[in-house]
Amino acid sequence: MYIFALASLVQSSWAFDIGPDQGRRDTLSAIGDTLDLKAVEVFTVPVEKYAYGQSLIQVSERDLERFQGQAFTEYLQKQTGLFLRQHGPGMLASLTMRGTSAGHNAVFWNGLPINSPSLGQTDFSILPVGGFDRAEILLGSGGALFGTDAIGGSVHLHTRLKFNQGFQAQVQSNVGSFGLWNQSVQAGFSAEKWSSRTQVYRNFSRNDFPFRNLSKFGTPVERHEHGTVRQYGFVQDLAWRPTDRSQLSTSIWYNDSDREIIPLIGSNTRDQQQDRNLRWVMDYFYFGRKNTLNLKGGLVSDELVFNVGSVNKTRQYFLSGDVEWDILPNIQAKSGIRQTFIQGNLSTYEAEESRTELYHSSNFSFRNNLLVSLNLRQLIYDGNFAPFTPSLGAEWEFFQDQKQSMGLKTMLARSFKVPTLNDRFWVPGGNPELLPEESYSAELGLVHEWKKGNLSVNQSLTYFQMWVDNWIIWLPRGNFWSPENIRSVNNSGLEYNLNAQVRLSSVKLDFSGNYAFNKAINQTDIDGNDRSFGKQLPYTPVHKAQGQVGASKDIWSAFINHQWVGERFVATDNIASVAAYSLWDTGIRMEFPERFIVKGQAGFQVNNLLNTEYQILRLRTMPGRNYQLNITIRL
């Protein structure tokens, strides 16, 4: 019996009822009755374990199902309160969290930081759904817990492997408008002591959607001729439990993406970009009676080729070790060290850097309703001390009865970002004297869970305040641009999240909604004529709202999703802006009936149902109404 949790989209998890020693329960496993009792998931450390007080967005495999083969951008844009500066479908997309810049969030794959060391950020368009099984997003400063870049938050992608599953295989196809064709094949075998899974995929989109060419006399409707996206890759996961007390696991992900860059309206560029990303990670765990040892090694190799001639390669090697132990029944701690070695061979320079990080995390539980996390981190890069980053977070469940519970959560944190290789070494203009960017943040949230009969409601409201200083911006200096630690920004905002489920006889209804309010106010004028002081940062919407209603009955389910993004300013002086937009998507899905020859499911969806003409960034075209059909067959 499959329960179709179609709209269990974005759930903040507030698990007040469990102690720190158990970690926080994955809300997915609560779906329950489809899981084999003997199935044991390959052990990983939950990213939120030492993050009491922080807001968490959990993205499950089911949430990602209908986004198969698409960029992770699409999921985040449509289903969360987060905003990505997206240059077109399949094109560069950078995430802004809590009003910070694209480089102010750390991105991890299986615990490995994958932000480009030269660009300092991740292009979410080359993280195809399929390269990972689930994701967690932690909102707010995570420098103490995760290291550099996590000023506005952090994104964690995971593959998920299980033991005791026998042979499993799956074929997924997704076809749609404008030549979309995503295909993936997955096969795995697992026994009690080992598990292996291999996945290959190929994603293609001709991307020749029509658009109104505003730059031309008479604004004719034309089709894009230069936007084809080709992507392929593979993922291999392996895990081995030689004894009950140890586990060795490794994953490798290669993604190759070749894109024709859709030109800005009014430009006739025919740029071509190729990205080749190889990520490899290996984890060893030893589970002692009171302690757990984790050794981790990894490699992240990125190659970005722009217009054939400009080749930019970076490689990062990681080695880390930490020990986690129970000091007292109510105190758990983890201490570790991470060594990173970075090699950059960019089109205009070469650079090397080594980083050493010492970190410590502790969880305390008091009377079972007050949970506290304390994290500390010191990073040293090439002999320079990055700002020492502590964070202190707490969750306090102050009311609980049979029907509902209410809690408060809070966090104080410092975070930082090491200047990127490009910031320091780009020729011309790179500025080796740059200081790390740094931030202080404080947040307070209220969490409410309520259950009555067949209705359950889970909601949270968070207020945050953040001060970012030494913010690096590139300014035109003579014949070239050069970065400086010029800007300081005050960020503040509200995040509201609601999830509700109700069961009416055989129909299950889900509702989820998000609202994000982000003020990111510039505190600096670069010179006397600048009009940026006191203004909102560019392309940072003050408002974004998203909501989805889902219904499921037997093998059928359907959803309708809406997102609304407020006005975005084009530049720091807040004179020009891009209009707010509102988009509707809808879809229907069917699980194959039990007597059907194969297991699996099929879904059909319509994106941009009202054929709205909109721009996320000024003069960057986005497609109108389009259709998608996806089929999954399991063996």
Partner: protein, 347 residues
């Protein structure tokens, strides 16, 4: 000699009055035929070039192309050329928009077949558009050209005349089109639409100007600026005035009495920009820095009020500012401009 010139002037003035009288009531000037047009180039990767219109005091009219035509200009404006009632907005993103000089209503465009468009000249009902051509793999421009359009309101390109790499500004002398390229000067014969010859130039050519009846080509390198006087009968360099001025940019404007204002930039590590005042007749720098700033991106001398208009791009973080100076470099006022202000047309 003086008398002859005075008589000519008087004759011209009388003729002008006479002409007006004979044409009945005077046609009022269009909205954009008076005041100052501020060319805002726009930011790279944003295509937000626009024209602002300044009419004195605090009256600045923003984004006049979009306001009149209900669509964004959607390009980076490299140059603005006026010719007999038509204004050509040359976008280096590969198009030329043609608007009515009076009210900026769109009359047409050249939007297909251009690459990195730089400037435009009009000769015998044809448009001649300088273009760098497409970049090769190493970002060089080996296939630069002058595109020819047989209609003054735009349309399709009838032919392309191959020229030296990176043509910029142009000047017409009879049927010869002088093209200032990145490294040299091309002479294009417009009777045959062919490149007649190429003249090597000291310094990097930037712009043409006329002073006391002579045609000059302004060029510069890291240490010097050069005023090459062009012999308009054989198109050779008649003589060159070399003046030591470090860090001169391609931005200059001719003031009164042979005074020329040049934007300079020290570059790394101080990044000080300045307005230098040089005299072409005295062959020297009068003052290397009558005004200092950063992000100075364009300059124009307004002959109507004898003010120097300096464009400040404000680091391209937002819109720019125009700083109005008197002839000794003292700031008179500032005018809010658009993204990356880079030049002016004074009416």
């Amino acid at each position: 000699m003086k008398n002859v010139r005075l008589n000519l002037l008087l004759f011209a003035a009388v003729f002008a009055f006479w002409a007006c009288d004979n044409e009945g009531p005077q046609i009022p000037l269009g909205e954009f035929e008076k005041g100052v047009l501020i060319i805002n180039e726009g930011a790279f990767g944003a295509n937000d070039g626009e024209i602002y219109h300044y009419t004195g005091g605090d009256d600045v009219s923003a984004d006049i192309f979009e306001r009149v035509n209900n669509r964004p200009f959607a390009g980076l404006i490299q140059d603005l050329v006026e010719h007999e009632g038509r204004t050509y907005l040359v976008a280096n993103t590969g198009k030329v928009e043609v608007v009515d000089t009076r009210d900026f209503t769109s009359l047409g465009a050249v939007s297909d077949g251009l690459d990195i468009t730089r400037s435009l000249a009009v000769y015998q009902d044809k448009l001649f558009i300088s273009d760098w051509g497409p970049y090769d793999a190493n970002f060089n421009s080996p296939d630069s050209y002058i595109a020819v359009v047989d209609n003054l309101s735009g349309g399709t390109i009838s032919k392309k005349i191959a020229v030296s790499s990176r043509p910029e500004k142009m000047s017409l002398v009879g049927s010869r089109l002088l093209v200032a390229n990145a490294q040299n000067l091309d002479i294009v014969n417009l009777d045959t639409d062919t490149l007649a010859n190429t003249v090597e130039i000291e310094g990097n050519p930037a712009d043409f100007f006329r002073n006391e009846g002579n045609l000059y080509l302004y060029a510069r390198d890291a240490e010097n600026i050069y005023f090459h006087r062009i012999n308009t009968s054989n198109f050779s360099i008649q003589n060159t005035v070399t003046i030591a001025l470090a860090g001169a940019t391609s931005n200059m404007s001719l003031g009164r009495n042979g005074e020329i204002y040049v934007l300079t930039s020290t570059g790394f590590p101080d990044y000080d920009d300045a307005v230098a005042k040089v005299s072409i007749s005295q062959n020297q720098v009068i003052d290397a820095s009558i005004y200092r700033g950063s992000g100075l991106y364009g300059i124009g001398f307004n002959p109507n009020d004898n003010r120097i208009y300096v464009a400040d791009n404000n680091g391209f973080q937002g819109n720019g500012t125009v700083i109005v100076l008197d002839e000794s470099g003292d700031e008179v006022k500032t005018i809010p401009a658009g993204r990356g202000p880079s030049g002016f047309v004074f009416k």
